[in-house]
Structure formats: structure tokens, C-alpha cells
Amino acid sequence: MAKRIDVSGLSAYYGSTKAIEDISMSIEPRSVTAFIGPSGCGKSTFLRTLNRMHEVIPGARVEGKVLLDDENLYASSVDPVAVRRSVGMVFQRPNPFPTMSIYDNVVAGLKLAGVRKKVVLDEVVERSLKGANLWKEVHNRLNKPGAGLSGGQQQRLCIARAIAVEPQVLLMDEPCSALDPISTLAIEDLIGELKSQFTIVIVTHNMQQAARVSDRTAFFNLAGVGQPGRLIELDDTQRIFSNPSVQATEDYISGRFG
């Protein structure tokens, strides 16, 4: 598990609008990479190009290359459905399937992949929920609806659902923005544990969060309203927050704009 990602010359469009332009970067395996930047700079759009979720929006398209180890995700022979099985995603708002129990939520991905054996599923449920630090809280009510959990628990359930299929990469799109500080802390601790197994990419609006959880940080910005977003710099988190090499990064981090 855990592969590296190499992006080169990637641009993404919504219809004729260019949302992000010419992004190239490398994301190390078994590490946490945080994307920061002002609203509308294309962080989330870029994140969604990494598992080909961008293109599910009508009219959206992508140019450029994303290599997962050495395989180009945008090669014509690659099935986007297969990409999404190896690059998992956690969304901004917790979105467990409301019609399913906790158990069924966790195994939803496996069932899609055709796994039916009860023994295997039971084991995966326990392992994934333990991996998401949720097992202790829910192990005696696995057959209750997932929507009955608290917001923070729901988000950890979504993480359990994502890691149950053992992806190479885990993408998180502002996973704590709808959560209270205590739930946020629980998720941040979890991210710290998960990076030993997965390549993690997290979009966040919270700079302290980026500083706390990530090893590397990428700063995105746009030149002006209506302009596409660009990658300004990517460096070790410590360096970005103490001594960034680009002035705009320092301005953003010290709160001078954005």
C-alpha cells in the first residue's frame, strides 16, 4: 500500500472555465501533504483530479498527467472506477449512506468490489473501525443506522469506509470543517496514525491544522478574480510556516490576505 503521486502539467476545467492551471508536484508516500490557500484557489478541484472525481461534474475535464507510482491515471486505458478504488476520498461534510447501518457503510466499498464472505467482511469491519478509532464507540451497535452517530463519529465512519478497501492514497477534502474542536482533534490524531499506511492528502482552511498534521504543505493561490488557481509552492511544512520562499505564501500565512 501507499504509492507516490507525480503530477505534471495538470489543468482542470469546468466547461470553458479554467479552474486550475499547469500544476506539477510530487506527493511522497506514507506522509501527509496539506493543501492550503484562499477560497476558490482550486485546492479542492485539484484534490478531486487525483481520483478522477472531478470529471463526474457535467462538463468538467482535465488535461495533464497524474502518475500513481508509474501508472498514468488519465491514460485512455484506465478505468476511472478502478482509480477510485485505489484512491479513497473523505468529504467535507460527513456523508455516510443514510439508508445503511454502520456495518453496511464500512463494507459498502468491498461489496461493490464483489466481496461477499461474511467472515471477511466481519474482519474488515473490525479492522477498519479500529483503524478509524471508532470501534470502541460503536462495536455494540453495528446494525444501527450510520446517520444516528454524531458528526465527528460519522466522519470517522466515512474514514473507516474509505480505508476498508485498502486504498493506496487517501484524499481528504476539509474533513474537519463541519466538526467541533474535540472531534477535529480525534480526526487529526487519526491522520497521524494513518500515515504509516497510506499516502494522505488533505485540503484544509485551518492553517494550524496544516501545521499540526502535515509533513509537507502546498500553497495554492490565484492571480485574480476569474483567473485559474496555481500552485505557488510546495515544501516541508516546517519551512512553509517559518521561512517560505515565496512572499505570497508568507503574506497568506501571516494573515495579510485571504
Binding site: M89, N95, F97, M100, L112, A147
Partner: protein, 326 residues
């Protein structure tokens, strides 16, 4: 939500009183409408029950098991066995055909068709609902019935062993429960489609994306996110359709060649439904005949009520999974 209410403006106490008059009028109007509805319902039920009682007291046969319908005979004999059977069987056939097709059309409009096609297509389906039932009836009698031969003989040949599709009287015009079922299916298709479509459209984008991000194909996404979320809506839509199928009168009366035979051979002509029987017999019925028809109407009313209650139970049983909380 936690913000405190704005301080009340001083010196306007009198005006506040004034505005409560409007409140009161509106409250009484709303309450009055509610009571009126109950009164009308009670009046209908009471009237039906009273007239039914009159007819039933004179009935020489058993109301529930008798096949014949001769309430105006010197010794009145009438029963709803054939009518209840025909009503339920034709409604089941209609539902078996219409529900899957309607869900398919609704999914096509909400999730498959490009927007340019989806909108006019949806409009076209809605238009089907605007066709008066007598037009459906005429179309059924003049077009559908003469064109049913191929299908009925095919069913008879290959599925005749099921007993249901066994045609015992070959060479007859297919004015049977099966044809009625197909016609009813077409008639209830638009309402089921329209309601299901709206429900499918309301599935939160985030649930669909959750499925897609797990590596679901479009169909798998629909199966894991859209259909379960839309389930209560599909049931409600089906009940609306079923209500129409159970109560459809004139189209059935035009197509079905009714008799008092109760037979599971749905390709044989004959049988009857509650509403069709009332439409057919009401004009020539005598006093007792009319009362008897009202008794049969009461039974239809009760059946519809039971079916709707059952549907509500099904929906309520899985309420915590309905997704309403999300």
C-alpha cells in the same frame, strides 16, 4: 438560532393586538377547513354505510363470497367475490408492469439523459397524465384489444403451464383482465414516474459522490445511494398509482367484457372490477340495486384504505434509515 429576540418596540402594544385579529381569522379559517374535511368524510362514510346496510339486509346470498350480481331480482342475490378478485388482479398486473418501467423512466430522466433531452422527455411523460381516462378507454378498446392477439397467444404458448397464462377459450377477443392490467399500467405510469423522478432528483449529491468515490459505477451508485434513499418515495408513488388503478372506472368499463366468472386464467375474457361494475350497472339499477352498488363502493374504499395503511407501515418501519436526518 441562539440569537436573542429583538427587543419589543415601545408604545405599540395596541397595534400588536390588532395584528392578532388576522391571526385569529386565519386560525379559525384553517381549523374550519379541517373540520369541514372531517365532516365531509364522515358524511360520505355514513351515507355509504347506511345505504349498504339497507342492501345487505335484503341480500339472499353471502355478500363476500357470492359471484352473481342480481340485487334487483325478486330475491336479491349479490356478492363482491368476482369484483374484488378482478379489481385486485388487474391492479397487481398494472403495478407489476408500471412500477419497474416508471422507475426506469424516472432514473433515465434524473440520472442518465442529458439535460437537453431530460426536460422535454419529463414533460412528455407528464402529458400522459393529462389524457382523460375515457380516451384511454377508447384507445384500449379500439387499438389495444385488436393488437393483443400476438402477445396473448405467445404467453399462452410458452407460459401456459403457469395456469395463469393458460388460455382456455381460444379465439375470443382479448377483453380480459390482462388487457385491462396493461391499460391500467399505461394510465398509472405518469404519476409513478413523476413522483419517483422528483425523489431521485432530491438525493443529496454528497451521497452519490460517496458511492462514486468508493469506486461505484453509475449503476452501482444508483443502487447504493439513489434507490435506497428514494425507497419511501417509490412506495408513496406506487400507492398513488395503485389508488388510481383500483378505482379506475370508465377505461375498464370500455375494455372489459364483464361476466360473473371468477377465474385465474387472466387471458380468458370476463371478470369485473368494483368501479367498472358500478359504472355499468348504476344507470339501470333499481333502488336496491343502487344500494348494493354503494355497498361494493364501500368495500373498494376499505381496500384502498388498507393498502395505503400497509404502505405507510412499510415506510415507517425503516424511518431511522430514511435519510431524513442527513
Amino acid at each position: 438560532m441562539t440569537s436573542s429576540p429583538p427587543a419589543a418596540p415601545r408604545g405599540r402594544v395596541g397595534r400588536q393586538r390588532d395584528s392578532r385579529v388576522g391571526d385569529k381569522i386565519f386560525m379559525n379559517l384553517a381549523r374550519g377547513s379541517g373540520i369541514l374535511l372531517l365532516v365531509v368524510m364522515a358524511a360520505i362514510a355514513g351515507f355509504l354505510a347506511w345505504r349498504s346496510g339497507l342492501a345487505l339486509s335484503k341480500n339472499d346470498g353471502h355478500f363476500l363470497t357470492t359471484f352473481e350480481w342480481a340485487p334487483d331480482a325478486p330475491k336479491p342475490v349479490f356478492g363482491i367475490a368476482v369484483l374484488a378478485f378482478g379489481t385486485i388482479v388487474s391492479a397487481i398486473i398494472a403495478m407489476a408492469i408500471a412500477v419497474p418501467v416508471a422507475i426506469g423512466i424516472a432514473l433515465f430522466i434524473s440520472h442518465y439523459a442529458p439535460r437537453k433531452i431530460a426536460q422535454p422527455f419529463a414533460y412528455l411523460v407528464d402529458l400522459l397524465a393529462a389524457v382523460p381516462s375515457i380516451v384511454y378507454g377508447l384507445w384500449g378498446a379500439l387499438f389495444l384489444v385488436p393488437h393483443m392477439d400476438g402477445l396473448t397467444s405467445w404467453l399462452n404458448q410458452y407460459l401456459g403451464w403457469t395456469y395463469i397464462f393458460d388460455q382456455t377459450k381460444t379465439g375470443t377477443v382479448p377483453r380480459n383482465l390482462f388487457t385491462v392490467g396493461i391499460l391500467l399500467a399505461i394510465m398509472i405510469l405518469p404519476i409513478i414516474t413523476a413522483v419517483s423522478r422528483e425523489v431521485f432528483r432530491q438525493v443529496p449529491r454528497m451521497h452519490e459522490e460517496a458511492a462514486l468515490a468508493l469506486g461505484a459505477t453509475r449503476w452501482e451508485m444508483i443502487r447504493t445511494a439513489v434507490l435506497p434513499f428514494g425507497r419511501p418515495g417509490i412506495i408513496s408513488a406506487s400507492m398513488l398509482g395503485l389508488g388510481r388503478a383500483l378505482g379506475e372506472t370508465i377505461a375498464v368499463a370500455v375494455v372489459l367484457s364483464s361476466n360473473s366468472v371468477l377465474s385465474l386464467h387472466i387471458l380468458d375474457p370476463g371478470g369485473g372490477t368494483f368501479a367498472q361494475n358500478i359504472a355499468l350497472k348504476f344507470a339501470e339499477a333499481g333502488n336496491n340495486g343502487r344500494n348494493a352498488l354503494m355497498a361494493s363502493g364501500l368495500v373498494l374504499f376499505v381496500i384502498t384504505l388498507l393498502v395505503n395503511g400497509a404502505a405507510r407501515l412499510i415506510v415507517a418501519r425503516r424511518k431511522e434509515y430514511s435519510g431524513a436526518a442527513a
